[in-house]
Symmetry: C2
């Protein structure tokens, strides 16, 4: 496995692979790799001849007061895990490499798709995401790029960007990987105290409950959201940011009953740590 | 020569060319092709195995009250000229093809590079340009893309975008093509009355005069700009938008004397028609 720390290094590897006619799979990450990322890398390994894992804590997707400084940085361990799961290249550039100009070129998806859910409390977040992902797409020129369904809104925003800008890349969205007790794997889980971690289980529990209601025939989106919020609220350490249901793929509000495919997404604070989780509710 | 009117059509042609290992040259235009465009197409023909000319009057780069509706549309003649100059494909999509979503994904270069010169009177112009050029780059996947120095600020903005977003494309900037009497070729010249057209000659005349001053040793940027503006102002039909000098490549203001490479750019109205022209002043 090769570690590339400059864009020039990566571009050279990509040019060689392209000249050899190799297919390229890209797994964009912010590092602190866990089994969720591992599943993305393994999927990329199966489907591509060259697998690139980017490890970059992207400053432009963090707002003021968010956890940019605290975000876990574990490059050595990341390289080991990435290599084990089949990565050929780990691309871990400095911020200066990814943002070469003092002024910026932004790639931004506008409209309600970036304004609801996480976009409400993190207004600049998705602009940072789409900007860095555009750069990574152009650098790595992937045939396929791998993202986790854990970041459900990010998935929809990137799908929109790829469609609007005609990026030549196939998006592969992988299911949420969970701990044995149900907690969705996240690099931010390491922030949690033991007490908060236990409290955090209410997220997966409440989403399973919502799924159960839906399976039993409940279609009223407000009622499902309200029942989910009520269950989460029953956990004293939880502080709800949102519990909301939107239509896929455009994240439009659901008027009344769920008819097609919807996203039930939650963001909840436990102490200073904000966790997200989600489930898709789909009428067959 | 083949005419592609959908993105899917173009993508198919590009995929075939890529699979065959062909190099691709792209000439993005808004149609109403003249010899200036012709020189770009001829240059692309020399350097690439597949030459794509896009003809698209891009609505997002026109502000309210600008000439979007009036802009000349001459697709049939454009195809003939493009073919004659060596184009393999003319890509002439409908707006709906290029902008498939109701909400938008924008690509925007921020900072003073897009705020000075034309950016001041046309605040959304360059955002429209960089957005559509990003789409065209992703659709056509060119090895080389051809732009005219006539749109000097556009050239610098696109260079910045390519650098910031790591587009895999070589930019080829071609010199301004002029009529025999000096008027820079422009699709908007057709708007001019005979009287305005004659008056418009003051642009190239004043830029040649500025060049002469510079060659004779004048380095004071304010004096060169003032002399140029004075000469343009002597033409009664002229109404100056700007006559300004900025450092290349970042379009930063020149503090006092010109030392490196600078752009002297002018934008002037003649009746309802706004013409631009420019010259590079370079200390050897």
């Amino acid at each position: 496995m090769k570690l590339c720390q400059t864009t020039a290094d990566l571009q050279e590897e990509v040019a060689l692979a392209k000249a050899a006619g190799k297919s390229i799979g890209l797994v964009p990450t912010m590092g602190a790799l866990h089994e969720g990322h591992g599943s993305l890398i393994a999927a990329a390994r199966k489907e591509n001849e060259l697998v690139i894992v980017s490890v970059f804590v992207n400053p432009t997707q963090f707002g003021p007061g968010e956890d940019l400084e605290a975000y876990p940085r574990t490059l050595e361990a990341d390289c080991i895990l990435a290599g084990k799961m089949g990565a050929d290249i780990v691309f871990a550039p400095a911020a200066k490499e990814m943002y070469p100009s003092a002024d910026m070129t932004w790639v931004e998806v506008t409209g309600h798709i970036t304004k609801v859910l996480c976009g409400r409390s993190r207004p600049i977040h998705f602009r940072g995401v789409t900007t860095v992902v555009s750069k990574l797409f152009n650098l790595a020129q992937p045939d396929r790029a791998y993202f986790g369904q854990k970041d459900a809104q990010q998935v929809q925003v990137i799908k929109r960007m790829v469609k609007d800008l005609f990026f030549y890349v196939q998006l592969r969205i992988m299911p949420i990987v969970r701990e044995a007790d149900g907690l969705a794997k996240s690099s931010r889980n390491t922030y949690l105290s033991q007490e908060e971690r236990t409290a955090g289980l209410i997220l997966s529990k409440s989403l399973r409950y919502a799924e159960e209601l839906f399976k039993q025939g409940e279609r009223d989106s407000s009622r499902i959201a309200a029942e989910t919020a009520k269950l989460i609220g029953s956990e004293p350490l939880s502080e709800i940011d949102y519990v909301e249901i939107y239509e896929l793929p455009d994240l439009k509000p659901v008027a009344g009953d769920i008819t097609g495919s919807c996203l039930l997404a939650v963001a909840v604070r436990f102490g200073t740590t904000r966790l997200i989780d989600n489930v898709i509710l789909e009428v067959e």
